[in-house]
Symmetry: C2
Subunit: 449 residues, 2 copies
């Protein structure tokens, strides 16, 4: 469809670095050039003054991902802070495409950061599980995509969100009603040529791909969630995500004013590097490229010792003499994400770079940090039982309107059938509404608070 | 996007006759060549033996639209009759794009025929109101499209369907859940090039158009309606429609076996001619090209006397001498649709063609027939009050499962808000379900039968 060949120079440049929602690759053998990405996408760098402002407004230290530049770019984040300073609330929107059974550490990054933002600003959060997208892109069955969405939801819930302010939904369950009406409004404003330009689809791609961008766009608009935001259609939206998702939201921001909605703001992260080195995102098809939240302590130890790319010298003598190249050292990078103590990180980096620490010692510290993180996650996930999860997903919101019942019920039934033991809970839940009255809050076990 | 120019011969042919879901035009000054259309689309002619078979199976005279070739083409209609003869049921699916306030006589044709089929075979019926399509193609607001859908629903209900076997839904209300999951399944099987080939979209068309064909496709599959057809996923579907809708269902039939579903069967009509002559469908933007169900007796009389194209001679003397050309005479065509009495129609045609009847006499009889039809429709429509219609739309089905509650509730809430007086009815309706029990039938006033 884009039959015009691109100018050679641009085409060469694209071969060097490619960042789309489905493919991330640095130029040959190199790292992603994030400065170039900011220029190319037209977003803004998240500078120190913004980070200081976040600290001031939230009255707490900025998250390690802010302090260390993991979240490094934004679009109109200052508008969100302006609004917050005026006393206006906003809401957070993030998501996940459920394409694998277990999440790896890179998948946790946006959720850990979103949890921090939710805690710091005390705002509602919607989490979209794009099971429809993965069904179409990864050629999974509908049922398998939905199963993965449910499994991934457990890992997301385990990140510790404020369940009274969080709404997690699967597209296969939730698309419809106000959400679908917004999809149609967005679709009307985006030509085929436009999505081809943004996403690089071809004529041989199926129309599901052409249909999907509005699905990811509309959670940016509060009117897509009448059960949450009825009467608050002007609420601003902040989207924490990895920068490869930027194309969806460029499109969304382009459309928003044309349909009378606010543009969502974004706060965007770098990619979490593979164990083998920082040349892009991790490769889901290679289990040894990442630490998974299901890895045992032994797995973690072996993977880091065997695969984590080291910037240290090849012999102890050389290491003592020349020190490590910490710019390419994966254990240092990983500690940069997950070791909270700035002083300790600084100490390790200095000592290791100067040759006074060895790779083995740095890896040992990383193994401790990750083992603890994964163990903590495992315990939290274990508490999210099959029994609790559908209610946790669907009822983790203040229920203020009778409409909610139907959104919730529809959502629930997407995952249930008549013979499912949960349908007893639905019936119990229905009873709460039998007089059509208001229910101010429902705990995750289905009882009113 | 279809950058290859078509061979000249084919392109010339297309200029002569164009039939798409959005445009119907005969070759210059001529009529639609339906034989050519059957060849071009690859459907089959509905022959006398099939009509005789319908008569035998239903034990009643075939509908006037069958006897007189209004429904003239089909796809696998014989499979439906085979199944029926074996004692298997099927269901009917038809629809309407709500783009105008009032329906004209041409709009009624598929609904009148569908009512006959429902009565004759005693089968369930789903009616899709594609308000999403019209919002996108006609650039109507979401709210205006939904309003037109509700208005049109009243005219459809007035056609007298068996409300206990009929489910009328608007896409804006109903898309979601199993319906949306089927949309994704279909979308995965249709490339962009394919819809460009079938529907002629261009790169400058918006992606809503590319997304829509699966929405019209999936009512062909019983699994899109779990509240109606749960456990009957192999039920066959018969679609009565005008032949301009064939492209949607060619696509649907192509996809069906690839996703494990039966191909729908079709029974397809010619177009209802404009008052000004038989060169295509009526032009919605010219109110004088059609008789509307809202026209008064005076309107009808004036329109027919003034605009109905006559095949009669220009003077009484010439008419007596040469007779009328009944092949191009619109009053005769219209009587062919709506005058049930075969003997009377035969008599009028013969006398008029032989010059023993004058145009004025034929028009007078047509005015009587249409005035009565429109008056009957008006009375039936008046009985469909605003108060009754949402329940008639959503509850006109046997409610066999608790799931139904949620489909119905979702549907209802698409058209309601908190302040709507109907929400009282929803609450009452919910009470019926408070013990989670089965409800075997709900009448259109919301009470259990």
């Amino acid at each position: 469809m884009s039959s015009n060949p691109k100018p050679l120079a641009e085409s060469e440049e694209e071969q060097q670095q490619l960042v789309t929602p489905w493919e991330v690759s640095a130029k040959q053998g190199g790292k992603i050039d994030y400065d170039k990405l900011i220029d190319q996408f037209g977003c803004q760098r998240l500078d120190q003054s913004l980070i200081d402002r976040v600290q001031r407004l939230t009255n707490r230290p900025p998250h390690v991902f802010l302090r260390r530049g993991v979240f490094f770019a934004h679009r109109d984040f200052n508008d969100i802070l302006d609004a917050y300073e005026r006393g206006d609330k906003f809401y957070l929107y993030t998501g996940r495409g459920p394409s694998s059974e277990a999440l790896h550490l890179g998948h946790l990054v946006p959720f850990m950061f979103t949890k921090y933002l939710q805690d710091a600003f005390k705002v509602p959060l919607v989490i979209q599980l794009t099971d429809d997208e993965k069904c179409m892109w990864k050629n999974l069955s509908v049922e398998e995509s939905q199963r993965l969405a449910r499994e991934n939801a457990k890992d997301i819930i385990a990140c510790g969100f404020d369940i009274s302010r969080t709404f997690i939904f699967s597209d296969f369950d939730f698309v419809g009603g106000a959400f679908y009406r917004n999809m149609v409004k967005v679709s009307k404003c985006v030509t085929c040529n436009k999505v081809v330009g943004i996403f690089g689809f071809t004529g041989e791609d199926h129309i599901g791909k052409y249909s999907f961008p509005p699905v990811q766009a509309v959670p940016s608009f509060p009117s897509s969630f009448p059960h949450l935001f009825s009467g608050k259609e002007n609420l601003r939206c902040l989207i924490p995500c990895a920068i490869d998702q930027d194309p969806y939201f460029r499109m969304t921001r382009d459309v928003a004013p044309r349909i009378g909605y606010n543009k969502p703001s974004l706060i965007e992260s770098t990619f979490f590097p593979a164990l083998q080195g920082e040349t892009g995102k991790m490769n889901a098809s290679d289990p040894n490229s990442a630490i998974y939240v299901t890895d045992t302590a032994t797995n973690i130890k072996n993977k880091i010792n065997k695969y984590a790319f080291s910037g240290g010298q090849d012999t102890i003598e050389n290491q003592r003499k020349f020190g490590a190249n910490i710019e390419v050292d994966i254990p240092i990078k990983y500690l940069g994400f997950f070791l909270d103590d700035d002083a300790e990180l600084e100490h390790i980096s200095t000592e290791y770079g100067a040759g006074r620490m060895l790779t083995g010692e740095v890896k040992k510290r990383l193994i401790e940090v990750l083992t603890e993180l994964v163990e903590r996650h495992r315990r939290a996930r274990a508490a999210v039982t099959d029994e609790r999860i559908p209610l946790a997903i669907s009822l983790g919101v203040k229920l203020l309107q009778v409409e909610t019942l139907f959104a919730v019920a529809t959502l629930r039934l997407g995952t249930l059938n008549q013979k499912d033991p949960h349908s007893e809970k639905v019936k119990r839940f229905l009873q709460l509404f039998r007089d059509g009255g208001r229910v101010l809050g429902v705990a995750s076990d289905g009882e009113t608070q």
